[in-house]
Subunit: 203 residues, 2 copies
């Protein structure tokens, strides 16, 4: 009676979890559900059922389906970390820092979440919209605008195109020699592209 | 005796098909064969055998293995056409010709097949392998090697990364201002990237 979060149904079924141990099961269930049904088809109710967790915990931990989706993709953590890592330093070296940061984060996951993300974005308008909003705001406002007040949205979109394409080639297509190339070699080849998109002339 | 296309062996085996009903079986057989063996390993002879169709029908319907591959994958663009279009001319302007050719072809389809392709590649290892082989051979051997004998595979992979990423941003994510930008503006912004990947220094 003192524990408000698992509802009567959960207690009846005797399998729902509460508190700290509900976040990870929800993420795991969300990854399965989104992978099977895509962002549109997935429901919070079904994710909660898969996790054996009350659906209210989704709002508690994540705030809603979109945020759960992002969390399940390891999206915001990585990107926020990347953004915070790359900002300090010489703006003339920002392109290289961005490429290196993405390689580092992606390599730790083997690129699997990137495949899921790209599949979702190519399959579901809502996922595309989320990613679009995210690149258009986080990347443009937090990274590009401070170093390039001239057309930051265009510069951010161009940077996004090279970053996404690099991720596709290295982790999804796994096209050699880029797939196995050392970070240093990828950074050397790709950083000048991002640097021109960030601070160079575009016409 | 009047029907020249199914050869004697076919008539002997009494199972080869001719005419209109050979195209779809060839496509279905090609999808299986390419999925199992990749672009390089697949042979026109074996695809025709799988389909119970004379191998001459591959040339009749598709013109060759590359075009059959493209048709089997529902490739968004006829890559062969693009490759043939962009090759003639100043190698120093090749990057711009490539970007313009992709924009032209993609714009005519609204980019929808590109979404399908990217989803396939991100979902199915066999599609990824097909595309990998294709970029690694068609792009590297037919476009890059003639203008840049130095590390053509790396240069092709880098070009592929920017082309795929541009397609993702413009047609799948539809991220502004790139989504609605005039061809001229996209070419101006992106061509120098491809040109450096093709003929510039990479280290």
């Amino acid at each position: 009676m003192a524990d408000a979060i698992p509802g009567p149904a959960a207690r009846r079924r005797g399998r729902r979890r509460a508190g700290q141990d509900t976040r990870e099961p929800l993420l795991a269930a969300a990854r399965e559900e989104f992978a099977e049904r895509g962002f549109e088809g997935a429901t919070v109710r079904r994710i909660a059922e898969r996790a054996g967790v009350d659906a209210a915990m989704v709002n508690h931990w994540f705030g809603g389906k979109e945020q759960l989706f992002i969390a399940a993709l390891d999206f915001p953590v990585d990107i926020s970390t990347i953004l915070d890592q790359v900002r300090p330093g010489d703006p003339g070296q920002l392109g290289g820092r961005i490429v290196r940061a993405f390689l580092t984060v992606w390599d730790t996951t083997g690129g699997a979440p990137l495949g899921t993300l790209i599949r979702s974005v190519a399959s579901h308008e809502s996922a595309a919209r989320m990613m679009r909003d995210f690149v258009g705001t986080a990347l443009a406002d937090r990274i590009v605008r401070p170093v390039a007040p001239d057309r930051p949205e265009l510069r951010a979109a161009l940077c996004g195109s090279q970053i996404i394409g690099l991720g596709m080639i290295r982790y999804v297509l796994r096209l050699e020699p880029v797939a196995s190339a050392a970070h240093h070699d990828v950074v050397t080849a790709v950083a000048p592209t991002l640097q021109r998109y960030l601070t160079g002339p575009l016409d």
